[in-house]
């Protein structure tokens, strides 16, 4: 009985860890590779979003809107950057995946709890 219980526990932990890893994967797989090739880091871009949108809610809305409708007119990057690297492709992620990726992005680079 005791053994059964520990097996079950292990299974739950394993499933949760897998889900988490998959989510991490979305950000790592779908965002990081392309951005690595750019001179402006994801951190710098995050700060550009903060400068304009301020709060978590509005930053996330801003990023998602741009990923779904990328255009020069609403991009936060400089003209020089856009002229050199162009506008990104429209995202092929599902709504759920997009949410997950943006949430990870926010958690990774947010200012909250980092100042001292």
């Amino acid at each position: 009985m005791e053994r059964m219980r520990s097996v079950m526990l292990w299974m739950i932990v394993a499933v949760m860890a897998t889900t988490q890893m998959q989510a991490e994967d979305i950000f790592e797989r779908k965002c990081v590779p392309c951005h690595q090739a750019l001179p402006t880091s994801l951190q710098e871009m995050f700060k550009e979003y903060l400068l304009v949108y301020s709060s978590e809610k509005f930053v996330k809305i801003g990023i998602k809107h741009y990923l779904k409708n990328p255009s020069r007119s609403i991009s936060l990057m400089s003209d020089l950057f856009i002229d050199t690297y162009g506008i990104k492709q429209k995202t092929d992620l599902s709504e759920e995946e997009l949410d997950q990726a943006v949430d990870i992005y926010w958690d990774k680079f947010k200012v909250f709890d980092k100042l001292k």
């Binding site: 951190q43 400068l51 301020s54 909250f112």
Partner: protein, 386 residues
């Protein structure tokens, strides 16, 4: 100063002082508020400067974040940053009770200055600058309010006394005039009234024809009624200020004497006396006790019905006088001792009798109990202690 004058004066002062107090409290409040605003506008310039400096520091921190994570501190002030949805990003504030509605606020001894940023460095939409309020302005306000407030209050009070005297003068003059008139009139009444009563008593009614005897009886009644009124008025105007000459009074004898005096009056209305008099004494001024008895008996006759009855019962510390007259309504009993108040205007009189009675009873601590039923009669019971 007369009682009515004192009453008017107290009322005037109560009204005047409460109005002055309200006006001064309002003025003090506006003064406080204006001084507070003045102090805040004084601080505003300095705080705006602090906010400008802190914004520049935030700009630098934003640029170097996350390599640099130390929030910029300044010994002159404390600060905090909030995002566009009022979420706290970082705070060094002593008082976390922050208001986003006003540019500058004073709460719990801390002054908060709110600056809205156009470029949201590190996501900062609102920058709060906090300094401690030294409270000197408040001390100055209290000092000013207490000093000038009490000077103004005293001046207003003096003005109030002057105004009260000014307003009360006409009333005082007319009361004095009336008082003097009553005093003079009553004094002038004494001689003719004594002459009438003395001569009536000297008349030999035995030799009179029946018709004349009845006429004389009517004259006696009228003269005695005037005499009671005269005694009440002289008591009110002249005698009540006299010093009491208290002595042990034989109540039984006095009542017998007064009943005899009022007998003619009672007979004219065919009212009969039923006496049940035990022995009783009281330590009191004779004039005053007589005024009580005279008034109670004369009222019992005056307001009795024809062929009515007056029952006087005297016990050791208790005297009860009851009539079979018109009575008075229960709700009017508390007002029956008021001066010049008369419930029945069909009978003569000024309405001063019972007010005199009450005054004397109060002076000697004698309790009076009144029970009355309309058209059945009234009972007045006097109860005194040893």
């Amino acid at each position: 100063m007369l009682r009515s004058e004192k009453k008017s004066l107290y009322r005037f002062f109560a009204l005047y002082v409460s109005l002055i107090t309200i006006a001064m409290v309002l003025l003090a409040f506006y003064y406080y508020e204006s001084q507070r605003q003045l102090m805040l506008s004084d601080k505003r310039a300095t705080l705006a400067q602090y906010a400008y400096v802190q914004t520049k520091r935030l700009k630098v921190l934003h640029h170097f974040f996350p390599e640099r994570r130390e929030y910029p501190r300044d010994p002159s002030f404390k600060s905090a940053i909030y995002d566009i949805q009022y979420n706290k990003i970082f705070s060094l504030l002593e008082s976390e009770d922050v208001s986003f509605d006003e540019e500058i606020t004073l709460k719990d001894g801390y002054i908060h200055y709110l600056k809205g940023l156009d470029t949201f460095y590190l996501g900062t939409r609102y920058l709060i600058i906090e300094i401690k309020d030294d409270g000197l302005w408040l001390q100055k306000i209290w000092h000013d309010l207490l000093l000038y407030g009490s000077i103004a209050f005293v001046l207003f009070l003096l003005l109030g006394i002057y105004l009260a005297k000014l307003f009360l003068k006409p009333m005082r003059d007319s009361i004095m005039l009336l008082d003097r008139f009553i005093k003079d009139t009553t004094h002038e009444l004494n001689t003719p009234l004594s002459a009438i009563l003395a001569n009536i008593e000297m008349m030999d009614t035995e030799v009179m024809v029946e018709k004349n005897r009845k006429k004389l009886e009517r004259i006696t009644i009228a003269a005695k009624t005037v005499s009671i009124l005269y005694k009440d008025l002289t008591y009110l105007t002249l005698e009540q200020e006299k010093k009491n000459e208290d002595e042990v009074l034989d109540i039984k004898a006095i009542i017998k004497d007064r009943v005899e005096y009022f007998d003619v009056l009672a007979r004219s209305k065919q009212v009969s006396f039923k006496l049940s008099l035990g022995d009783a004494t009281i330590l009191m001024d004779r004039r005053k006790f007589t005024r009580i008895i005279d008034n109670l008996i004369s009222n019992a006759i005056k307001y009795n019905k024809r062929k009515g009855e007056i029952r006087i019962v005297l016990e050791k510390h208790r005297l009860s006088i009851s009539d079979t007259g018109i009575g008075i309504a229960e709700e009017k009993i508390p007002f029956m001792f008021d001066r010049y108040l008369r419930f029945n205007r069909s009978e003569g009189g000024f309405g001063v009798g019972l007010s005199i009675v009450k005054k004397i009873l109060d002076e000697y601590g004698i309790r009076i109990e009144v029970t009355s039923k309309e058209s059945e009669g009234t009972r007045m019971v006097l109860i005194w202690s040893e």
